[in-house]
Symmetry: C2
């Protein structure tokens, strides 16, 4: 039986040191965003399955884990459409729940709502290296502000958060859906083909310029292909930032220096709901994007019947953890292991009595019974990040009587 004991496919257990690193990084991101006046909220892990599959979630909707109805409701649904067997689903992102949350709670929220949301999401994807079925997302959103202040707030806060976790080299590619639409018009792509054309342009990384030209030619005609080829040639190298983005670039550059934002006219972002600016976060040490977002002014109206401007950005937490330097996030707390001579009540009482004074001196204090071999215990504790120990007997009556030694030196 033992060989079969593992977490579900594509999901992970976290060992203490790994968990500590993740918690520290997440804590820094959360507190940096709070420092910018964003407010943290929480929604349930599940949402009604209808809401999760109503077209807001794009391709991710197909990846939702579905939660079965129970009792009579399940009985009634057996033998029919399998989709009717589920009434709930696990969230596959934090954006669909956020828009639902805003629709539910907007009367109790400030007019411009600046939200921090971090937490697990679940996707029934084929597991592969670096891709998991449960992973953490880390979003901020500004709802209710149509001005560029919202974009600037998101970008400066995110660059600040990335710096604080040691990813100063991160940059953000920026584009605007309106620019993309204008471009497609100039290429001669008919209006009803623009979604499809964007999907092709989004593949530029994978299929290169030739591939994009070929696919556009096939989807539309040779003229569209030829114009696209000219366009792709023209945009190599550094491009002037267009008017739609200029002010955002200037304010961010004044704060973080030039080059942290880069205009990329080929940036598409997959989701259909984007209506304005779009972002993708990059890092020189990562082959893929480490986050992204954009403006989605039409989405909340789907729940409330009234459009509300909204823009969000997400740091890819799992990528950020991979990139972040382990040494920086290893446990550094002042820790002390008290090794008890034996398990007599008198010795245990001595050790317990020592704890408060040691706590006051800033130590964490772990109690351990002396095993047959002290060295085995110390080696094992060293692996767990513990750094100091002292032995305790019945006569260890105060802190000063302890001889504190480093572990493993």
């Amino acid at each position: 039986m033992a060989k079969d004991v593992h977490p579900p496919r594509g999901m992970r257990d976290f060992l203490p040191l790994e968990h500590a690193k993740r918690t520290q990084i997440l804590g820094i991101i959360r507190s940096t965003y709070a420092t910018h006046g964003f407010q943290e909220i929480e929604t349930p892990a599940m949402e009604d399955i209808q809401r999760l599959t109503s077209g807001q979630g794009g391709d991710n909707e197909k990846l939702a884990f579905r939660v079965m109805k129970r009792g009579e409701e399940l009985e009634k649904s057996l033998g029919g459409d399998p989709d009717a067997l589920a009434d709930l689903g696990l969230r596959y992102d934090l954006t669909v729940p956020l828009t639902r949350y805003y629709a539910t709670n907007r009367a109790k929220l400030p007019k411009v709502f600046k939200a921090i949301q971090t937490g697990p999401v679940w996707r029934a994807e084929r597991p592969q290296k670096g891709r998991y079925r449960q992973f953490i997302q880390c979003d901020i959103d500004v709802i209710g502000d149509s001005s560029i202040l919202a974009e600037i707030d998101l970008l400066t806060s995110s660059l600040h958060a990335l710096e604080n976790i040691g990813l100063e080299a991160a940059t953000i590619r920026v584009n605007h859906r309106v620019l993309l639409s204008n471009l497609l018009e100039q290429l001669g792509v008919p209006e009803d083909g623009r979604g499809s054309a964007m999907i092709t342009i989004d593949k530029l990384d994978k299929i290169a310029a030739e591939g994009v030209v070929a696919e556009l030619t096939e989807k539309f005609d040779a003229q569209v292909g030829a114009r696209a080829a000219d366009w792709l040639k023209a945009i190599s190298g550094n491009l002037p930032v267009p008017a739609e983005l200029k002010e955002i670039f200037e304010v961010v550059a004044a704060q973080f220096g030039e080059g942290r934002l880069r205009f990329d006219p080929t940036l598409v972002r997959g989701m259909g709901y984007y209506t304005g600016t779009i972002f993708e976060i990059e890092h020189p040490e990562s082959g893929s994007s480490i986050g992204g977002g954009g403006r989605y002014d039409g989405m909340i109206g789907r729940w409330t019947g009234e459009d509300v401007p909204a823009v969000g950005i997400s740091i890819g937490f799992e990528r950020a953890v991979e990139l972040a330097n382990d040494d920086r996030f290893h446990a550094t707390a002042n820790n002390l292991v008290l090794v008890l001579d034996n398990d007599s009540p008198a010795v245990i009482a001595s050790a317990v009595k020592l704890q408060p004074a040691l706590f006051e001196h800033g130590y964490s204090v772990r109690l351990e019974l002396l095993p047959k071999k002290l060295n085995n215990l110390l080696d094992s504790l060293a692996e767990q990040g513990f750094t100091h120990f002292a032995t305790v007997g019945e006569d260890s009556v105060n802190m000063d009587s302890l001889v504190i030694k480093p572990i493993g030196n």
Copy 2:
């Protein structure tokens, strides 16, 4: 459509101030346990459904939310046993996942493993006041130590954590499953009736002594009933602590004073897996228990084939949040709202440039555009816990030029 927008039944959205209180309380509990040398870990929200329903979870197994198979696997299962439609389930507690985690990862863990686990669990219960379908559990466990040091570590750490969140009045009732077995033997309950007799005694709170005597008489015979009546009469008032628990009580009393532990020979705890000490945490302002636990030396052997001693205790996080004083946990951070004259890039740039110096002075800095009515904005921000503001124009070039005013006074 708008009226229909709410989270799933029995699950909650958390508004920013409520979320802040919860995060603070959870943070204090987690860091107190870490101070005692416990190590935080994490398991996935889901486990294989077979594992979740293998008899370890008691009545909670029936409350597991089941997650549907997908694709071909689902196709193959349609039309058959409805139980076969699910391959995963959401965890209903943190103990079953912990024992699975230990079985999976024990080679990489210290010999005595002191675990902190906090996180949501899900139960498909009928929602009612104070009972939710998603709620936080907050557990510590000591695995691999059969001595009373494990119990003492759990009890002192938990009393310390409760104190740190302001619940100094919490006490812990303690009993031992061996004492319960001895008692039932003395009452004349046959060995195969002991589980059933414990279920009856567990109802003492609800059905009183007469109810327990009547039910035992009905389940067994009049002699058992009469002996139980004598026993229940004899145990009113303060009882001497039996030898099995005496040393634990003495060490805890030396640290926390008398009366924080109370021997209760009628304490049963529902779960079948307990083998030794059992605990239940109480608070004078709460009608129901605010946590509990016990020793479960046989449970890990179910996964590994080899018994490992284990004992755990859980603080009922949702109850603790209800009891904890709001004022103590309201946002008190040094916060400042910069109200921008207008949304021109020059004014936005001024505000963004002011942020780093204000951060350095310990402020969080939220940017807001001046709306038509400043007072409406300030009132709304006051409700969110923001306390100070300053207006910013193009000429606000440094911190000293800001006039910082309190909000709402």
